[in-house]
């Protein structure tokens, strides 16, 4: 497919942008001053300002990763690090400015599935513009706030946990996020509370060259259960945007957290995200991760299985079309006995797109009887597309079981013909095969997202044939 900058892609339905009077737009590039201004505009406590400036100092010392996709065309000096669309988060939809409302309306959120969700947050560029949690969960002590709000209302909780799973010095993008973070979700689920409906956040980049650096912290207390869904889209600008989030999750004893991502940024967004969960005794962490959009994604959702019999699970789907690189995978760090993990990674490449699975399995000396299974399936839709696998295994105990299987298949001419012999057009047949390949993951998604993913595959396949 030919790339025409600044013209909306026929296959990308979220590529519009609305004109807006922003409350504040920072100059391009990042300085100490930018951070100080940001922190004071947010009226943050002194310790948070220090947290940011310390992270900035680390950021300046760090270099881009020496491995993985080439990021040299990402110009950090061209990014606007803080873009504030409106004053304050609105509780009801009616209070949201019309232009922003229109954007979310066109995206089909948050009206869609309102009944189905326990709570929702909508982030527009740097700030959460609207959010709501159903009273029934509020009464049970569940906290669902933007990180900025949480910092005001529960400063001690935030201070105790922020950076505890992903320290500011973890990697260059974690340092950058820690320095300039804005928005993101804060969730606390009290002991033994099961939030039976998912909490949802929708992230939208609207302004050109805007960076989005949301910071999410989820604390699931002992025996609790919660599912969090995030969706991401952006306009089809020809200039690059940067999305660099940090997501930290603490899964206390016996708790269960599922984190679902449908990432569909436009093809000029760099998506460089660090996600990690600390999983305690008999607790479960599940990452369900769909990466469909962006120019380059580097994301390896991880879990540190720190308590006995903790379990981690990753189910991921990556789709790379022309000029896209999806460098994704998962890391399972087994530190305790009887810990188990399972990673299922599916990838689809077409039109010269590159998908890579990059994974780490580390079994520490105390993690006897640990078990891990990795399965990577790649589907190549044409000769020009590429799939790579980079598994790393570090095992420091004698009695762990780890297995790895990988398959690469080309879309079968016979399968295509079989479906066409039943009257399906070539593009319908391709879409059906691709959807079938993605089915184990689609099945796990809530209805609305499954429909969106199916529509995405149909559009991509239409673009690929004839």
């Amino acid at each position: 497919m030919k790339q025409l900058p600044s013209i909306q892609s026929p296959t990308y339905t979220h590529g519009f942008s609305v004109p807006l009077d922003y409350a504040y737009i920072s100059e391009r590039g990042l300085t100490k001053k930018t951070i100080e201004t940001l922190s004071s505009m947010k009226a943050e406590p002194e310790w948070m300002k220090k947290f940011r400036l310390d992270a900035y100092a680390l950021y300046l010392q760090k270099t881009l990763p020496s491995w993985g996709p080439d990021l040299s065309s990402l110009s950090f000096d061209d990014i606007r690090y803080y873009v504030k669309p409106t004053d304050g988060e609105k509780r009801t939809w009616d209070d949201v400015p019309d232009s922003i409302k229109k954007t979310f309306d066109r995206l089909g959120t948050p009206q869609a599935e309102r009944e189905y969700l326990a709570g929702i947050k909508n982030q527009f560029d740097s700030e959460v513009v609207q959010g709501q949690l159903k009273p029934i969960w509020e009464e049970k002590g569940v906290i669902f706030l933007s990180m900025d709000e949480a910092l005001k209302k529960h400063p001690n909780l935030v201070r105790k946990h922020i950076g505890s799973v992903i320290p500011s010095g973890d990697n260059v993008f974690a340092s950058l996020n820690s320095a300039v973070w804005s928005g993101g979700s804060f969730i606390y689920v009290p002991k033994n509370v099961e939030v039976s409906l998912p909490l949802q956040a929708y992230f939208r980049i609207n302004a050109e060259r805007a960076g989005q650096f949301e910071r999410t912290l989820i604390i699931a207390d002992e025996g609790s259960k919660v599912t969090y869904i995030e969706g991401c889209t952006s306009p089809s600008f020809s200039t690059s945007s940067l999305h660099s989030a940090v997501v930290e999750i603490i899964v206390e004893k016996g708790a269960h957290v599922e984190y679902i991502t449908i990432q569909n940024w436009y093809k000029h967004v760099y998506n460089l995200v660090t996600k990690r969960a600390l999983v305690k005794e008999e607790a479960v962490m599940v990452w369900t991760d769909c990466n469909l959009g962006s120019k380059i994604t580097m994301k390896y959702p991880s879990y540190i299985l720190a308590g006995k019999a903790a379990h981690g699970e990753t189910l991921s789907l990556a789709f790379a079309g022309a000029n896209q690189i999806q460098d994704t995978g998962s890391k399972a760090i087994h530190l305790a006995p009887y810990t188990t993990s399972s990673i299922v990674s599916k990838s689809i490449s077409q039109g010269g797109g590159i998908t890579s699975y990059r994974g780490l399995i580390s079994i520490g000396p105390n993690a006897h009887h640990a078990k891990n299974h990795v399965s990577c399936d790649a589907l190549l839709l044409d000769k020009n597309s590429i799939s790579n696998t980079y598994p790393t295994q570090r095992v420091f105990t004698g009695d762990a079981t780890i297995t790895h299987e990988a398959t690469v298949s080309k879309i079968g001419e016979r399968q295509l013909f079989y479906l066409m012999s039943r009257g399906l057009t070539a593009s319908q047949a391709r879409a059906m095969i691709v959807r079938g390949f993605a089915d184990p993951l689609i099945k796990k998604l809530p209805m609305e997202y499954a429909v969106e993913l199916n529509r995405f595959i149909d559009l991509e396949m239409e673009g690929s044939v004839g």
Binding site: G412, E413, R414, Q415, F417, Y418, L419, M420, S421, R422, G423, L424, T425, A426, Q428, A429, M432, I433, R435, G436, F437, A438, D439, P440
Partner: protein, 267 residues
């Protein structure tokens, strides 16, 4: 037949195959190919059941596959006209939508695509959007039961992990809903026991009577034939139809064998 959707007033039409020549592609890179079928001619009217017999490798399945548009074969010469529509120049999906159905001898597995999903999509592609999906689902379930397919199979991936006999029945189930004007049914009897053959042939008989579909049955054996009203029998050898006749030809082949029959015909 309980399905009342099918119109009883279908006009008689014809499938006319004339002087068909087909090659198999041996090496796709160099387009190297080998002639398989030569000068195959045959015509049938809607509502008729024909039987195509012949030794292994005589070209029966090649004929069916080539007509359906299989990428391993090229039609070099001749024509195949289904009610005024020339099929040879059409793509596989266009041929299917024109009213041709070919049930595969070895159907293809597709992971994650359920039996019901395939039937629904193929049906909608041909007949338009289904308004009441639940009703349609019940209809598919009912037909599956008539064919002896467990209804739980509707949610399984198409042909994945099914036995040979089950795959054949799943092909017939699809055919039922695609309502073709003409069908080639390749070795539907292999992998079926006697009871299943009775069931399947009864189903086929009713479908032909009901929809006035024309049908070519490819088989080595007569088992299926005693349950079905046969209008014509064709014998294939070395890529051509060498003789045609009524059921007595099939009886003769079964009694004396292919070689003896051909010797008598001085072929």
């Amino acid at each position: 037949m309980r399905n009342t959707n099918i119109s009883k007033n279908i006009t008689k039409s014809e499938l006319i195959i004339s002087h068909l020549g087909v090659s198999a592609i041996i090496e796709p890179q160099t387009s190297q190919k080998k002639g398989i079928l030569k000068d195959v001619s045959c015509r049938m009217r809607s509502g008729e059941i024909h039987v195509l017999m012949g030794k292994n490798g005589s070209g029966k399945s090649t004929l069916a596959m080539a007509l359906s548009g299989h990428p391993d074969y090229v039609i070099d010469s001749g024509s195949c006209v289904l009610e005024k529509t020339e099929l040879v120049t059409l793509s596989a999906d266009e041929r299917a939508r024109a009213g041709l159905f070919v049930s595969f001898q070895t159907p293809i597995e597709i992971a994650g695509v359920s039996v019901f999903q395939l039937i629904k999509t193929a049906y909608e592609q041909k007949f338009g959007l289904i308004e009441n999906v639940l009703n349609f689902y019940h209809e598919v379930e009912r037909e599956a039961t008539l064919l002896g397919i467990p209804t739980a199979s509707m949610h399984r991936s198409i042909h994945e992990g099914f036995s040979g006999g089950e795959k054949k029945r799943l092909e017939l189930l699809q055919m039922k809903f695609l309502k073709p004007r003409f069908a080639f049914i390749d070795e539907i009897d292999s992998g079926l026991d006697v009871d299943a053959i009775t069931m399947v042939s009864q189903y086929l008989k009713e479908m032909v009577a009901d929809s006035q579909m024309g049908c070519v049955i490819i088989t080595h054996y007569e088992r299926l034939l005693k349950y079905l009203p046969i209008n014509a029998v064709h014998l294939m050898s070395k890529g051509s139809i060498v003789t045609s006749g009524d059921t007595s030809l099939a009886d003769q082949i079964m009694r004396d064998g292919f070689d003896s029959v051909m010797k008598k015909l001085e072929l």
